[in-house]
Structure formats: structure tokens, C-alpha cells
């Protein structure tokens, strides 16, 4: 008998009476979504740039490039100095990655990113610093609303990113910058 069959046979004797699926009727907090989002983003060590949109972002990118940084942009209208590489591993020296976010979540500052816009899936993790772009109208109140809006087609990868990578594994001291990006700046458009 295959292990799958063995497991399924064993599952016939689950002792709990079958339970119905509960209703998820949670009222969203819809006041000042951008303000909520900004406050949440701050608690997860990210920074929101509310004004200036892509112009502001391009100016920042130009500054980084002038300082000799390697910048890759996956956002239309933002020009970096690096293109998508043949292999994911070649992104190891990227200082800044500019990436479009699809949905922002006000309750926790997370931004949904889909691999369609990443070049390589590893781009937002391997870069030293991450610059995310999100439209103000794409910010929703909570994870329930976000679940209805995110796209994840067959074969795709998507991730909610809430702040730069961090760890507190050494004596509970919070250190920003573990394996992923060491900083996160979000630009609102």
C-alpha cells in the first residue's frame, strides 16, 4: 500500500465531528488608509515617501548611481544602470533594486510583489537595499481584502514584503539587515 493510501485510510478515523467552515465577516478599518499604512510601515522599519512619486524616486536613483551604486529597475519610467542578468546569481552585487508592488496592506505595512515584475525571483531578496513603488489607490485595509486582490497564477511566485529583512536571534537585539535587503523605502504614486 502506498504511503498516501495509508495516510488516507488513517484519516477515516478522525475522532472530531466534522466542523463547518466559519464565516469571515471582519469589518475593515477604512479611515485614512495611507496614514495607517505609513504607521505600520514605520513599525516594520520601512520608510514611506508620500510626495514626489516617480520623479522623487528617479532623483534618488540618479544620486545612488552617481555614487557608483549598482541599481536595477523593474519599474516603468525609472532608469537604473543595470539590466536583468542571465542568471539569478549574477545579481549578487546589486545595491538597489526598484520594484513595483501590486497591493499595499494598511494594517501591517506589507506590500504584495509578484514575480512577473521581478526579472529573477530572488531580486527583492538579494539586493542590498529595496525601493518599492506602490499606487496610493492600491492600498487596502487588511489581509482579507488583500487576499481578494493579489494575483498568483499557476507557476508564479509572490510575496508580501513588510520592511527590510531583520533578525533578533542574538540576545533578542533587533538587527535590520539579515539575509534580505538592509533597507526598504516605499514610494507612493
Amino acid at each position: 500500500m502506498s504511503s498516501k493510501l495509508e495516510i488516507f485510510n488513517a484519516l477515516k478515523s478522525v475522532a472530531i465531528t466534522p466542523q463547518p467552515m466559519p464565516c469571515f465577516n471582519i469589518a475593515p478599518r477604512i479611515d485614512d488608509l495611507v496614514g495607517q499604512f505609513e504607521a505600520s510601515l514605520t513599525t516594520v522599519a520601512g520608510t514611506l515617501h508620500r510626495d514626489g512619486g516617480l520623479t522623487n524616486l528617479q532623483a534618488t536613483v540618479d544620486e545612488h548611481i552617481a555614487q557608483g551604486m549598482q541599481v536595477i529597475s523593474m519599474v516603468d519610467g525609472i532608469k537604473g544602470n543595470r539590466e536583468v542578468t542571465a542568471t539569478a546569481h549574477e545579481l549578487r552585487d546589486i545595491d538597489y533594486a526598484v520594484i513595483p508592488g501590486d497591493v499595499g496592506v494598511a494594517e501591517n505595512g506589507a506590500i504584495w510583489v509578484n514575480n512577473k515584475n521581478l526579472g529573477h525571483r530572488v531580486t527583492p531578496f538579494i539586493c542590498e537595499n529595496l525601493l518599492l513603488v506602490i499606487e496610493a489607490k492600491s492600498i487596502v485595509a487588511n489581509m482579507h481584502q488583500a487576499a481578494n486582490l493579489i494575483t498568483l497564477a499557476s507557476g508564479e511566485f509572490g510575496t508580501y514584503i513588510a520592511g527590510p529583512s531583520k533578525t533578533a536571534d542574538i540576545e533578542q537585539a533587533l538587527v535590520v539587515g539579515a539575509h534580505g535587503a538592509c533597507s526598504l523605502n516605499v514610494y507612493l504614486t
Binding site: 478522525v14 525571483r121 507557476g155 531583520k166
Partner: protein, 457 residues
């Protein structure tokens, strides 16, 4: 079971408690997490509603597991994900090794998965010539120190930064005497980047498996799962059968409570959904039973499978905080460790490493009735004739004694008199371990029965 064995919880805890200042430090560190959790939970008005929904949704899934697992597998196949089934840890390890051997993998980077710990996968693969690198910082620290995890979310919580500094000095060549967490974390970042970039395969655990999408969700703060899984072409994910949830909505409920209850964060930094391999890559999911279906056959134990491994119950547990993760004889310590591990405990003492205070059940984001489960384990041990040493000899006598009104009244009268007239130093030895850190009680003037007759009778 001999009392001299150090595997009995009370003895292991006693060893841990010898260094009083370290115990205080350990307890405080965990309590800080509990306080952060309270603040995070309190900041969401619908917190209790989320706990209720989380609990009901998990119960619904557990009582329809066959359907959801079948649906999950079918959808995975549609997404070009290869699915494997393992009835126990040995089969899980064999499957993993077969996949790795087929791809001639020499080095695999792993993100924290308590399931692979449960299956003892690392030594199995290492014996077969495969280098396994744990990539969560806490996991890497204890791997370098050749220790098991002592907590399910912060596995190196028992180590001081100076000890990590010494370890990194020896293993990673950091400066001698350096103990600054930022400096040490940066050194680990550099070291582990090299590992990610040179690994042939990656393996992660699974926080949730979404049935209607055929996708797995992996949550980390460090980004290690994603640095791992998205660099090499081969990615493996191990999951218990209890990890499946019906849909994205259900996953959203748990994503709202998981990090808040674990560390007080509104969500983990990365919550990643893998719905297929990268271009030209291969993705495998190994679905593991390893005793879970047995637990489902017991109405009370079954509820422990609602657990989403946030570690909240460990942080709040007064026994865990003051006895350390290594006193539990199981990969998973604390209340949830007792709930899922007591049946494997040869010393039969772990089910008693609990005061039944219920704090764990109170903080649990999916309402696992941990104290009820632990109490149930004691009953199961008693019914199986496996009470821990001591309890098996005196508990039946206590039972008989309590059942006899004459014997009880007579001896309680004697005890009241003794407490009044004899010095404490003479009586204290009779109280055993109970009296070790307690003063003897002040004896009342009469028995409760006499008081009741006089005042209420």
C-alpha cells in the same frame, strides 16, 4: 525508570536552574516577547474574533483533511509541483535523499523547519555526504554549536551574545571577544550569502499549504527561505499533513495572527507564496504524517494539530521560561511540545512539566486547548500504567487515603496540631519538593467540615 536519569524533566530543569541569574535572564527575554504579543493583539479590535475564526477554520480543515490534501495535491500537479507522501520521518528522509541524489546535490541550504528536526533529517543527509546548512541565524548558531533548538521561533534564545561571539570567532573568524549583535549578524550575513550562492538545492518548511491554489506559504523575517529557494534550481518543501488550509482567505487569517502572536510584529517581513518552480527549476513538496493521523484518532489530542507554531505558548509558560527548552526531551519544548511529544517521552515525566495554569491556551491564536491536552496526557499515562517514578507508587495510596473519611479526618487533625506545636525545621522534610521553595502553611483552627457544620449546616 530510575530517578537518577537526567532525562526526567524536573532533574533537567534543576540543572538549568542552578545558574539563577541566567534563569532570570531567560525568563525575562521570553516574557518580553509575551508583552510584545499582548500589545500587538491589543492593537487589533477583532483579535478575539480572529482567534475564533482561526480555530474553527483549522478544525474544519482537520475534519476534512482527506479532501483538502487531495485537492492540494491535484492543484500542485497542475502547477508543475511534484508531490510526495511520507508516513514517517524515515520515509521523509529517504524521499529527500533520493531527490537530492538524483540531482547530485552536494550542498543544501535549509530554512527553519521544525519538521525536518522532528525527522532528524540533517544527520541522515550528512551521513550520506550532503552538506546541510541551516540558514536562519538562530538555527545556524545552534548548528555551529552542535546543539538542538531550544525554542521553536527563537532557537538560540538560551545563548548569550558573548557565547555567540566566541562561537563565531572559532567558526567564522570574527574578532576575538566581539559580541555586538549587529557586528555578529553582519558576519553571519556574509558567511551565509556565500552558502546561498553556492548551494545546489534549497529546502524550507511550510507555514500554510493552500489547497485550492496548490501553493505553499513560507514566512521568515530574515529572507533566508527566499534567498535559498530562489537561487538554486531545485527547491524542496516539507510539510505536516496539518499545514493545509482551504484557500487564500484562510491563509490571510493565520497570517494576521502568526507573527503578532510570535514576536508582536504585525506580520513577518516576508510571507512568500510558491505556486510552482522557477523557470527551468524543479519544486517538490513532501507531505508527512509521522504520527499526526494517530493524534487525530483521539478527540482531545487532535486539537493540538490546530497549532501554527507561533511559539506564543512557550513565551508565556512559567515552567518553560524557568526550565529551558532542553528539559523537555523533545524537539518541540513547552506546552505545545508536551501536547505533541508526550507520547514519545520514555521518562513519562514531561506531561507533569506544567502547572495547568492555562496561560498557554489563553494566548494561543487558534485556541488549542493546551492545558486540557496536557491534563489528558496525564490520564493517558496513568491508564497505560506509565506514571512517572514515584507517582506510580504513592498516587494509588493517596487515592485510597483520600477515599477513607476516617483516615483523612484523623490525619488532617494530626497535621493541624503538628503544624501548630512542632518547629518548621522538623516538619519541612516531610513536605518533600513542595516545601523546597515554600513556607509551610498556617494551620487553621478546625477542619473545613467542622466549620461548615457550625456555620452553614
Amino acid at each position: 525508570m530510575s530517578t537518577s536519569t537526567s532525562n526526567v524533566h524536573a532533574h533537567k530543569a534543576e540543572i538549568f536552574c542552578r545558574d539563577e541569574s541566567r534563569v532570570d535572564w531567560h525568563s525575562k527575554a521570553l516574557w518580553a516577547l509575551r508583552e510584545k504579543r499582548d500589545r500587538a493583539a491589543g492593537s487589533i479590535p477583532e483579535w478575539e474574533q480572529l482567534r475564533q475564526i482561526g480555530s474553527e477554520m483549522k478544525l474544519h480543515t482537520l475534519t476534512h483533511l482527506a479532501e483538502y490534501l487531495e485537492e492540494f495535491e491535484q492543484n500542485c500537479i497542475k502547477n508543475d509541483i511534484k508531490v510526495h507522501w511520507a508516513k514517517d520521518g524515515a520515509e521523509h528522509n529517504r524521499i529527500v535523499h533520493e531527490i537530492l541524489a538524483k540531482h547530485q546535490v552536494k550542498k543544501i541550504v535549509k530554512s527553519k523547519s521544525m519538521l525536518t528536526e522532528e525527522c532528524h533529517m540533517n544527520p541522515y543527509l550528512e551521513e550520506r555526504g550532503i552538506e546541510v546548512i541551516d540558514t536562519d541565524l538562530g538555527e545556524r548558531i545552534i548548528q555551529l554549536a552542535k546543539m538542538p533548538p531550544s525554542h521553536i521561533v527563537v532557537p538560540a534564545i538560551h545563548m548569550k551574545k558573548e557565547e555567540v561571539g566566541d562561537l563565531f570567532h572559532q567558526k567564522l573568524g570574527t574578532d576575538a571577544g566581539a559580541s555586538d549583535p549587529l557586528y555578529l549578524t553582519r558576519a553571519a550575513r556574509r558567511h551565509l550569502r556565500e552558502q546561498f550562492l553556492s548551494a545546489d538545492a534549497a529546502m524550507t518548511g511550510v507555514n500554510m499549504a493552500i489547497a485550492d491554489k496548490g501553493a505553499v506559504v513560507v514566512c521568515t523575517n530574515e529572507g533566508n527561505a527566499d534567498m535559498g529557494a530562489n537561487l538554486p534550481k531545485l527547491q524542496l518543501h516539507s510539510m505536516g499533513i496539518d499545514k493545509v488550509v482551504p484557500d487564500l482567505d484562510s491563509a490571510a487569517v493565520l497570517l494576521r495572527t502568526l507573527a503578532r502572536n510570535a514576536t508582536g510584529q504585525p506580520i513577518t517581513t516576508y510571507s512568500s507564496f510558491y505556486r510552482g518552480p522557477q523557470d527551468g527549476g524543479e519544486m517538490h513538496v513532501i507531505i508527512v504524517d509521522n504520527g499526526r493521523t494517530d493524534m487525530l484518532k483521539d478527540k482531545i489530542l487532535a486539537e493540538s494539530l490546530k497549532c501554527i507554531r507561533c511559539g506564543g505558548c512557550l513565551n508565556t509558560c512559567p515552567v518553560y521560561r524557568r526550565s529551558g527548552g532542553y528539559s523537555y526531551n523533545y524537539t518541540i519544548p513547552g506546552p505545545i511540545g508536551i501536547a505533541v511529544g508526550a507520547q514519545h517521552d520514555d521518562t513519562n515525566s514531561i506531561a507533569w512539566a506544567c502547572t495547568l495554569c492555562g496561560s498557554c491556551s489563553y494566548v494561543c491564536p487558534t485556541k488549542v486547548p493546551l492545558d486540557k491536552i496536557i491534563h489528558h496526557h496525564r490520564r493517558l499515562k496513568a491508564e497505560a500504567g506509565k506514571l512517572p517514578y514515584g507517582k506510580s507508587s504513592y498516587m494509588p495510596l493517596v487515592g485510597k487515603f483520600m477515599a477513607s473519611e476516617t483516615a483523612l479526618n484523623c490525619s488532617m487533625a494530626m497535621a493541624r496540631t503538628a503544624l501548630k506545636i512542632l518547629p518548621g525545621s522538623l516538619l519541612k522534610p516531610f513536605s518533600g519538593a513542595w516545601g523546597k521553595y515554600r513556607e509551610l502553611p498556617v494551620a487553621p483552627n478546625s477542619s473545613f467540615e467542622a466549620w461548615f457544620k457550625k456555620n452553614r449546616g
